[in-house]
């Protein structure tokens, strides 16, 4: 049976099938635009190796565009390159480069407007303004693309993958660098972002605005202005992501602003200036995260209620937790703190003395940032010690009652 199937497949492949159009330098059809115009809905267009100097290719019917041997579409810095205005369009294996820069229009390598069930995969997008710009399109997939540009300033650059008002989109395995924001989501619902590598972007690796019920798992954010910014969003799951070296004068690993009911689990934050910056976030659970060698591990700016930090590892951070108020409604329990100095007499792995993660010095630095110049001074150590013995300025109920003695790996 299988042999016959294979034979059938071979037969099908060799036939000059109906519904297929080839584009190449010496073919009958020499430009992609021509092929799109000729094609019937649900046809497949094969584009052979070569450089196609084209822009504003408008796709207004369901089509499959497949590159063979990585053909190049060069827009010569002029307008949108591909505009998709129909459902069920697939674009794969192209190199698309040189998108025009505009201060008034969001020009993109691939623009999708009201196009559902799209599938864009295995493309290389180079020197783009916006990479893949998706507007009001649902149920799509953006997989294994490499989007890059040479962004220098925020106002002269665009985002790698930009979704506006979309639902149920999968963004998986993409690499994004040299852009303003690696991935930008605005009014995006029920979407999943997995296995992406967003690095060296000048603003954010991943940016959520007004997007609810989204998940992002297993992504890596490196050396961005800020790793991930999640703003004005609800019900976001953030799991197993890695935030590395988002290091600079105003850099964050994860920036949360007006977030409700999020889950932040099993992430690794290493060497960020501020690993997690929280502002106005409520009911967020932080479980099993590793925060290693950051400047500030958790910086709480205010208006944060009912957040829970459990089973995290705080290792060698300059400041573990920083608060700017004396109020605390968040719970810290069962974390490992590398600067914990207590003891464990009954050997159950839990320290017998509660740990106070907020140091007086971090409070002072929050008030007067210049005082950071006194970091690691003997006087500061004495101050911290006296505050630890009898808290006056730091929230006195901000205590980890059961600090772990050893790092937990799970």
């Amino acid at each position: 049976m299988q042999r016959y199937l294979g034979l059938l497949g071979l037969l099908l492949l060799n036939l000059p099938l109906w519904g297929q159009i080839r584009v190449c330098a010496d073919c009958e059809i020499k430009t992609i635009r021509e092929a799109v115009a000729l094609a019937q809905p649900h046809d497949t267009i094969f584009v052979q190796t070569g450089v196609y100097q084209e822009n504003t290719i408008i796709i207004n019917k369901p089509l499959v565009l497949l590159g063979q041997g990585q053909p190049v579409i060069d827009g010569n810095h002029n307008g949108n390159l591909i505009e998709i205005k129909a459902d069920s369009v697939e674009i794969a294996a192209f190199t698309i480069r040189n998108v025009g820069v505009s201060y008034t229009k969001d020009l993109a390598a691939i623009l999708l407007t009201k196009a559902d069930h799209f599938y864009i995969h295995d493309n290389r997008l180079e020197k783009v303004f916006f990479g893949i710009l998706v507007e009001k399109s649902h149920h799509g997939r953006i997989v294994n693309n490499v989007v890059s540009s040479e962004a220098e300033e925020e106002f002269t650059s665009g985002n790698g993958i930009h979704l506006w008002s979309c639902r149920d989109v999968l963004i998986k395995g993409n690499e994004l660098f040299g852009l303003r924001d690696g991935i930008y989501l605005e009014f995006v619902e029920q979407s999943t972002i997995i296995d992406n590598h967003s690095h060296d972007n000048i603003r954010y690796g991943l940016h959520f605005m007004f997007s609810n019920h989204d998940n992002y798992y297993d992504n890596t954010f490196e050396r961005n202005g800020a790793g991930v910014a999640v703003m004005f969003s609800k019900f976001i799951n953030m799991k197993r992501n890695r935030f590395y070296k988002n290091w600079g004068t105003a850099s964050f690993g994860l920036l949360l602003k007006e977030i409700y009911d999020a889950e932040i689990e099993n992430n690794v934050f290493e060497e960020n200036t501020i690993a997690i910056n929280i502002e106005g976030s409520t009911r967020v659970n932080y479980f099993h995260n590793d925060l290693i060698r950051n400047g500030w591990a958790v910086k709480v700016a205010g208006g944060c209620y009912a957040n829970i930090f459990e089973n995290n590892n705080f290792i060698d951070n300059s400041f573990d937790v920083s608060y700017n108020t004396k109020m605390n409604d968040n719970r810290f329990l069962g974390n490992y703190w590398s600067s914990y100095t207590g003891y464990d007499l009954n050997r159950d792995g839990i320290g017998d003395v509660p740990y106070r993660p907020v140091k007086l010095f971090s409070y002072i630095v929050g008030r007067t940032p210049e005082t950071i110049i006194l970091l690691r001074s003997l006087f500061i150590d004495i101050l911290n010690f006296s505050e630890k013995v009898s808290p006056v300025f730091t929230p006195d109920n901000l205590v980890d009652e059961a600090p772990k003695m050893k790092i937990t790996h799970d």
């Binding site: 004068t249 400047g295 002072i364 210049e370 950071i372 970091l375």
Partner: protein, 260 residues
């Protein structure tokens, strides 16, 4: 001068305290490396120790040596020697032997743990350099106190006081003034205030090398611009040299006028 230096130096090298000091650093170095397992982390911990301890040991050891070698000094004064020669010789003898204890005491364990291949080589060298500077500065300060006070108790108290002042109280006043004047631009003030305290200066010099510069830069670009660059490094080192030379000049001046 070289002769006097030699005498003081050999006298100290043979003394028990140099060995204790040397052994202390040796044990500290090994313990830190053993516990931390990574050179870069050990360097950070070591910084805290060096910035606090070397000035303290320098002042106390300096003043102790000055008083205990008083008879020897009087003997030398009876010889046809210039006063400058005698006191500078003694000063350099003490400072050099302390510096050697520091450099070998810490250098050996780090060399043993393969510092040569590590990227931390430069940071470690800077650490030892600032440790050496602090030793030279504070031994000089101790000698000045010794020359001005014949009463030993007074001399000791002043020595401890000056260490306390520069290591702790100065930072306290610094912190309070930063908080009081927080409404004003403080970048320049902070920069200048650190220059007036060798302990602060070496602490910040090392901190910036240890990649905490981004934390500092948070307050304003001026720190980053100043300390982060080569110019900043050389200016800081220059200020440390001035910090060494000015007390030495005072030693010479005081020694010339002093009655014995």
């Amino acid at each position: 001068m070289i002769k006097v230096l030699q005498y003081s130096f050999y006298d100290l090298i043979r003394s028990r305290w140099s060995y204790v000091y040397f052994l202390f650093y040796l044990v500290l170095g090994f313990a830190l490396l053993f516990l931390n397992n990574s050179i870069s982390k050990a360097v950070i911990t070591l910084m805290n120790v060096i910035v606090v301890l070397t000035p303290m040991i320098g002042t106390i050891f300096g003043i102790m040596y000055y008083y205990s070698s008083r008879e020897f000094t009087e003997l030398l004064l009876a010889q046809p020697l210039r006063r400058r020669t005698i006191f500078l010789g003694q000063y350099l003898g003490v400072a050099l032997s302390l510096t050697l204890s520091l450099v070998f005491g810490l250098g050996l364990p780090f060399a043993f743990y393969g510092l040569g291949q590590s990227a931390e080589m430069g940071n470690f060298a800077l650490l030892l350099l600032s440790g050496a500077f602090l030793t030279f500065i504070f031994v000089a300060l101790a000698f000045i106190i010794g020359l001005r006070n014949d009463n030993r108790i007074k001399g000791f108290s002043y020595a401890i006081l000056i260490w306390l002042l520069l290591a702790v109280i100065y930072d306290g006043i610094f912190l309070i003034s930063l908080i009081i004047f927080e409404d004003y631009p403080l970048d320049k003030f902070t920069l200048i205030a650190t220059m007036f305290n060798p302990i602060d200066l070496s602490r910040i010099l090392i901190l910036l090398k240890l990649d905490i510069s981004a934390l500092l830069g948070y307050t304003g670009a001026i720190f980053q611009k100043f300390f982060g660059t080569q110019t900043g490094l050389f200016t800081s080192l220059g200020v440390l040299i001035v910090w060494t030379l000015v007390p030495v000049y005072f030693i010479v001046r005081l020694a010339r006028k002093k009655d014995f």
